[in-house]
């Protein structure tokens, strides 16, 4: 039997060994890491990670590619779309990335790209930062592992959007929404409307076969609250869509495509090349990509959106009118034996119609649901009360205590409850979720 002293010695030995191992591992990792690069080089050599990107300048696609290093992008949601988005921006050499996500990596995420099984259990932002830093040490990272929709975190989130730029204190250049739920999108929308922050929204449908991206310039283009959520019609009969026992499906392909068109739009917007899309949908079933632009809704529910619209109107009025003469180079092919012509899917007239207050949506895009025009709800509302909030809270708590007394008499009570609950149960099995006609308000297409 070893003495305590002997065991203590053994522990010390093992601790030293562990330190040595750790040092060795760090040295090995350091050897794999390339040093930071001060200035992007256009030199075409195997060792230059930016040579193919800088080639975009030589080819006349981008005027000033190095400018990418001055930009900061916030990615909210580091899941199937967000992680790939962050990786693409990292590889492109973005200046700074802010990552927001409250979730952990799970094995159930492995049907998507980016994360690896050994990262299961780590927070998504932590795992992502580690991988991304290895890919490109020139990028600055800032990660926040929290849910942005709660009061406390939301205040911090707003602060980082407005002060978390590459140069501390400056706002970020762009916010990307890669979240998977309505609440988080509305939270980002609220923050960006309040701050006047330009952002891009992205999404993949729950059936995994359609997606979209959308550029939102507060006051100018429709915000997320200006219209009911837009959906890309997948042309699937809802009745044949089985939802038994599942919440959502996902495909690495659709998510990769959406991340790709999102980052493409980001690059075009930041580096000023090509045409930046206001809305681009992806219907994977028919391989159809509807596009459109939608103006902000003067009756938007979000008062900060309406304020931004006023400011935008003022700015537009002050701006001197400049006649822009665009000289279009006509592409002429030597011959066109088969008479092939390109026909735009969206005509100017259609685009015009789509930018009105009432979103007359182009083929392939619909709203998830409609909202009644007028508040015509009739029904009893809560009465004025003399009671204070504290009194009401206490009253609610008192009912709890009474119920515990009732529990003692459970036999009779239980039978009654069983009976009434079967109603609920039956309703639930029919996918209940509507109040019924009494409260259903006349709906109208926006």
């Amino acid at each position: 039997m070893a003495t305590v002293e002997e065991l203590k010695l053994r522990v010390r030995e093992l601790e030293n060994e562990l330190i040595k191992c750790k040092q060795k591992q760090c040295a090995m990792e350091d050897a794999l890491h390339r040093p930071k690069i001060d200035k992007m080089s256009a030199e075409v050599v195997d060792s230059n990670p930016y040579s193919r990107l800088m080639a975009l300048k030589r080819m006349g696609i981008v005027d000033d590619y190095e400018k990418i290093r001055t930009f900061t992008v916030a990615v909210v949601g580091v899941g199937g779309v967000g992680s790939v988005t962050a990786e693409m921006l990292t590889r492109c050499g973005i200046g700074k990335l802010l990552l927001f996500d409250y979730d952990k990596v799970e094995l159930a995420n492995m049907n998507r790209l980016f994360f690896q099984p050994h990262q299961a259990g780590l927070s998504k932002v932590e795992a992502a930062e580690h991988t991304l830093r290895n890919i490109n040490p020139d990028v600055s990272f800032e990660t926040h592992n929290y849910n942005i929709t709660t009061m406390e975190n939301f205040t911090h989130f707003m602060d980082r959007i407005s002060h978390g730029g590459l140069e501390e204190g400056m706002p970020v250049d762009l916010v990307l929404s890669c979240v998977d739920n309505f609440e988080a999108r509305m939270a980002i929308n609220t923050a960006c409307n309040e701050l006047g922050q330009i952002w891009m929204e992205s999404g993949v449908s729950e059936n995994a076969v359609s997606g979209h991206i959308q550029l939102i310039i507060p006051g100018e283009t429709a915000c997320f609250a200006c219209a009911p959520p837009l959906v890309v019609a997948a042309n699937i009969d809802e009745k044949t869509l089985k939802r038994e026992g599942v919440c959502a499906a996902s495909l690495p392909t659709t998510m990769g495509v959406v991340a790709g068109i999102l980052v493409q739009n980001v690059l075009k917007y930041l580096l000023k090349f090509g045409t930046v899309s206001y809305y681009l949908g992806y219907n994977a079933m028919q391989d159809f990509f509807p596009t459109m632009a939608m103006k902000a809704n003067p009756q938007c529910n979000d008062h900060h959106c309406r304020r931004q619209q006023e400011e935008y109107k003022k700015k537009e009025a002050e701006r001197p009118k400049v006649e822009v003469v665009v000289e279009e180079e006509e592409v002429v092919h030597e011959d066109n034996e088969w008479g092939i012509e390109l026909v735009s899917e969206v005509t100017d007239a259609e685009l015009q119609a789509a930018t009105g207050i009432v979103p007359d949506l182009p083929e392939g895009i619909t709203v998830a649901y409609t909202i009644p025009a007028e508040d015509t709800a009739h029904g009893e509302t809560v009465e004025e009360t003399e009671q204070s909030l504290e009194e009401l809270m206490a009253q609610m708590r008192k009912i709890v205590q009474r119920s515990q007394v009732v529990e003692g008499l459970s036999a009779v009570w239980v039978i009654g409850t069983e009976h009434t609950l079967t109603h609920l149960q039956r309703a639930g099995q029919k996918n209940l979720g509507c109040t019924g006609e009494s409260k259903e308000i006349d709906t109208r297409s926006y």
Binding site: T150, T381, L392, S403
Partner: protein, 171 residues
């Protein structure tokens, strides 16, 4: 469409009047009062109809809610803890109700035990915002979810009655 009993229950919950979320310092206390009034009325109605099935209470500023809900199946009572935060965008968006102890037991749930509501719920909430409150969330969101999921989970043996569990452990 909801059945007659649910429809009647929901139509008896008073609608709320104040459009204010937790970031609205001036109006949120008023909204909170209305939430409590509607909840108290709903619970009392449930008791009167012999269909009492949940309790809820909040922290002082009304941003975090906790409580219990219970479900009777074959004369046995199954009770679950429930919790949710009021999102900054409330009441334009509904809170995400979580039943943490069922996390990982059903596919009709997001991580953290947040229940996955039917596709009808979000449109219904949006159409009736800001007049719907937490009582409506319970009646149209959690209630129907429990009615479908709990019997199924019991059937699969994933939810076991606490006393039976104790008996099994004693044997």
């Amino acid at each position: 469409m909801a059945d007659e009993a649910t429809r009647r229950a929901v139509s008896q919950i008073p609608l709320l009047k104040t459009h204010a979320g937790p970031r609205d310092r001036a109006l949120w206390p008023q909204r909170l009062k209305e939430e409590y009034q509607a909840l108290i009325r709903f619970v009392e109605q449930n008791k009167a109809a012999d269909n009492d099935w949940f309790r809820l209470e909040s922290n002082a500023d009304g941003t975090r809610w906790t409580g219990t809900c219970w479900f009777i199946h074959e004369l046995l009572r199954y009770e679950f803890r429930l919790e949710f935060d009021i999102p900054v965008t409330y009441p334009d968006t509904a809170p995400e109700v979580a039943v943490p102890e069922l996390d990982g037991k059903t596919a009709k749930m997001y991580r953290g035990g947040k229940i996955c509501l039917t596709e009808h719920f979000a449109p219904l909430w949006a159409r009736n915002a800001p007049r719907f409150g937490l009582a409506h969330l319970m009646a149209l969101g959690l209630g129907p979810w429990l009615a479908v999921e709990i019997p199924d989970l019991i059937g699969k043996g994933l939810v076991i009655h606490k006393e039976r569990q104790r008996d099994a452990a004693a044997e």
